[in-house]
């Protein structure tokens, strides 16, 4: 693949000496891809995601993010360039929707006027009105909260957005709508999305590439079509047809 934006080479990571969270993982993600990572719980998919913005360190191997070895990145600067959406949105309950969206800009000391302008843009894009911007997260529905989380991740115009089961806690209808929205967003913005999910349908409809993980290893990484037509082994075949 050309134009790789994140390149993971032979990475091993363990939290305890005995049990390895990731074993010899390699992954090359190209600019503009939408990579979904899926696998049974405890397979290491969240750990893999957290390696990419330095939230989790590695034991051995190498990670190159935006043409620079992760070790040489100032982690704080790097994280500000990468959008980050976690389970249930991770919205700050004491800040308004407006303040939540502006968070990354605020901590990066962006000028107030520029922040306001960017928040208005995002609000327009996501369809938030003034009342909603001034509300607290708890006053919004679950789906709306998740959309605030996405808007917040996009605020600093990142090249990469990491998402850890962002729609996990939502009802089916809201979830499908949001999946549709995010797919549109990806199509328009050419941002690299990397999303951890446990929902097969989500992984295969959203992803331009799907990484299937099991027990700390990437079993198969390919386009959804290729995986469906040529699963590498019996386990993958069974896993995707459950």
């Amino acid at each position: 693949m050309n134009n790789s934006v994140i390149e993971i080479v032979n990475v091993t990571k363990s939290y305890e000496p005995e049990s390895k969270a990731l074993i010899n993982v390699s992954l090359d993600i190209s600019q503009g891809a939408f990579v979904t990572i899926i696998g049974p719980s405890g397979c290491g998919k969240t750990t893999l995601l957290r390696l990419m913005n330095g939230m989790t360190g590695i034991d051995s191997g190498k990670i190159i993010v935006m043409d620079k070895d992760l070790e040489n990145w100032d982690k704080i600067q790097l994280r500000r360039k990468i959008g980050y959406v976690i389970q249930q949105g991770g919205l700050f309950p004491h800040l308004t929707v407006r303040q939540n969206i502006a968070f990354v800009l605020r901590i990066s000391s962006v000028e107030k006027q520029a922040i306001e302008k960017r928040v208005s843009e995002l609000a327009k894009m996501m369809g938030f009105d003034e009342r909603q911007l001034n509300a607290f997260p708890s006053e919004l529905s679950g789906g709306q909260q998740q959309r605030v989380g996405v808007a917040r991740a996009l605020a600093s115009r990142p090249e990469i957005v990491l998402m850890d089961e962002p729609f996990g806690a939502l009802d089916n209808i809201t979830r499908r709508n949001l999946q549709h929205e995010i797919k549109e967003m990806h199509r328009k913005m050419k941002i690299t999305f990397i999303m951890v999910t446990h929902d097969l349908h989500e992984a295969f409809t959203l992803g331009t590439h799907v990484a299937i993980m099991n027990k700390g290893e990437i079993v198969q990484f390919d386009t959804p079509e290729n995986i469906q037509h040529e699963p590498v082994n019996k386990w993958v075949k069974e896993f995707i047809h459950i």
Partner: protein, 518 residues
């Protein structure tokens, strides 16, 4: 309604005194609150990281919290002495627990997912703390702060016990001089102060909670109301302490009895009217001589009224001596040699144990002395508190010198003695010779004709260093030599304890009568 009237009269009569106490109270509480907040919050933050330290710190403050406050004040007297510093230390120790605990709990309970989100978006550790963790913990921290503030203001009421002033002094003085409206005024003032502070913080807290939104009218009102109250309290801090112009000052202390308050005022007024020295009154020190004497040696107190018997038996621990004049001569010499303290004068009265019976009975039976009572004692029932019967220098010893043969001997609670006499449950009681109730109930005090009870002659003790520092004090107290007889002191006590006049007023009148006050 009379109670309400009494309260208003008390406030009106003692406006300046109460205001001074209020200022002292606020000053002490506010200083403590500031220190507690700084130490408590930083400790609460510090122990977040280390489980070991957390256990040590929380265990220690929890333990300290269980020590009764009175004991804690007493505990620090040998270390820090009496007064403001001691009170401050004790208040700080008590206030730490709620602040440390709530700061720690509040910060610890913030959802780790939110901290992860902030960090993952590129917040520095300080930004994670200041933008996310601290604000989310804030309501819990404020509620600990609120508890602490109310507690500190209430506890500061006990500070007067060790001479640190404050509204507790009014309560304490009220108790010691049997003045219930003064007790009430002091208590209400403390309660109101705590309530006002609590309301102020509460209002501020409420307004801060919704700070994120554009402040609406009610919110703005709450914020100004809260800030206003806190600002008002703060202004008190900046007020100059009363007096303090010449820089010359001495500390006059007393024990917690009405008689001592009066003597303390007599001493203070005499100094204030004849010199330009400012007098700091630390009246009603709890524990009396046992706390005042060490403070005299340390120089924290300059002058106080003392009784010869107490000094001789309790401080010098000398065996009893019968002749009061030779006792005084020896006492004066030993105080100068051992402590560098000067007995400036004897005031004239002797506040010792005596026996008393109703005047009409005494007149009827012609009883003036212990010996005369002994002869007719089989007609009377004798009442005294439990320990009077127990002590060798009490009834047992007394009986060896005077052959009493009472019809019955009744053990009574010390506070019910006079009541028992009024109810005719007993006929004769033991009493202190200057107890105002002797006059109130028209009792006759009998003469200890064989001098069994040691003399407790009142005098004035002053530090020699103070006399050297302020030569103008020399000879001043000698003017009081022999100026107050037993019956005169009894009258002064009566005016304070029964007629509810203030010790200051009674002392001033006394000095005017003796042409000692201009």
């Amino acid at each position: 309604m009379t109670l309400l009237n009494d309260i208003f009269t008390t406030i009106a009569d003692r406006r300046d005194y109460l205001y001074e106490l209020l200022v002292q109270h606020i000053l002490l509480s506010l200083t403590a609150i500031i220190i507690i907040s700084v130490i408590g919050i930083s400790t609460g933050i510090a122990i977040l990281q280390s489980k070991k330290w957390r256990q040590i710190v929380l265990g220690t403050v929890n333990f300290l919290y269980t020590i009764p406050s009175i004991a804690m004040f007493g505990l620090f007297i040998p270390l820090i002495g009496i007064g403001y510093g001691n009170a401050l230390v004790v208040l700080v120790i008590y206030g730490l627990l709620p602040v440390i605990r709530n700061t720690y709990t509040g910060l610890d309970e913030v959802d780790p997912l939110l901290l992860d989100a902030a960090k993952g978006m590129g917040a520095t550790p300080w930004q994670v703390f200041s933008i996310v963790r601290w604000p989310l913990a804030f309501p819990t921290i404020v509620s600990g702060f609120r508890t602490m503030v109310v507690m500190t203001i209430a506890l500061a009421g006990l500070a007067s016990f060790i001479g640190a002033g404050g509204l507790g002094q009014a309560i304490y003085r009220g108790i010691n001089t049997n003045n219930s409206s003064l007790i009430l005024v002091g208590s209400i003032a403390v309660a109101l102060l705590a309530l006002v502070a609590d309301l102020g913080i509460g209002a501020l807290e409420k307004s801060l909670k919704t700070k994120a939104r554009k402040p609406d009218k009610k919110n703005r009102f709450l914020r100004y109301f809260g800030l206003g109250i806190l600002a008002l309290l703060f202004i008190f801090m900046l007020l100059p302490k009363p007096g303090n112009s010449s820089g010359k000052k001495i500390v006059v202390a007393t024990k917690p009895t009405a008689e001592q308050y009066i003597l303390g005022e007599i001493i203070s007024l005499l100094v204030e009217n004849n010199t330009d020295i400012q007098v700091i009154r630390k009246f009603g020190i709890g524990g009396g001589t046992s706390n005042i004497h060490p403070a005299m040696l340390k120089g924290e107190i300059d002058i106080y009224p003392e009784y010869t018997g107490t000094a001789w038996l309790f401080v010098l621990k000398e065996p009893p001596m019968n002749n009061p004049d030779s006792l005084y001569a020896a006492l004066k010499r030993m105080y100068a040699e051992q402590f560098n303290l000067e007995w400036a004068c004897r005031l004239g009265f002797n506040n010792t144990f005596t026996l008393a019976l109703p005047e009409p009975v005494a007149q009827n039976q012609n009883i003036n002395t212990f010996s005369e009572l002994a002869v007719q004692s089989n007609q009377f029932v004798f009442g005294a508190e439990f320990d009077f019967f127990e002590r060798e220098d009490g009834f047992t010893g007394l009986n060896k010198v005077y052959p009493f043969n009472f019809k019955n001997e009744v053990e009574l609670d010390i506070n019910l003695k006079f009541q028992a006499l009024e109810n005719h449950t007993v006929d004769v009681i033991n009493a202190f010779s200057t107890d105002s109730r002797i006059r109130q109930m028209n009792l006759r005090v009998l003469k200890d004709d064989k001098q069994f009870f040691p003399a407790y002659q009142a005098g004035i003790v002053i530090r020699n260093e103070t006399l050297q520092q302020y030569p103008e004090l020399k000879g001043l107290f000698e003017r009081l030599e022999n100026s107050i007889s037993d019956s005169a002191m009894l009258q002064l006590n009566y005016e304070v304890e029964i007629e509810k006049k203030s010790p200051n007023e009674v002392a001033a009148n006394f000095l005017k009568q003796h042409k000692l006050l201009k």
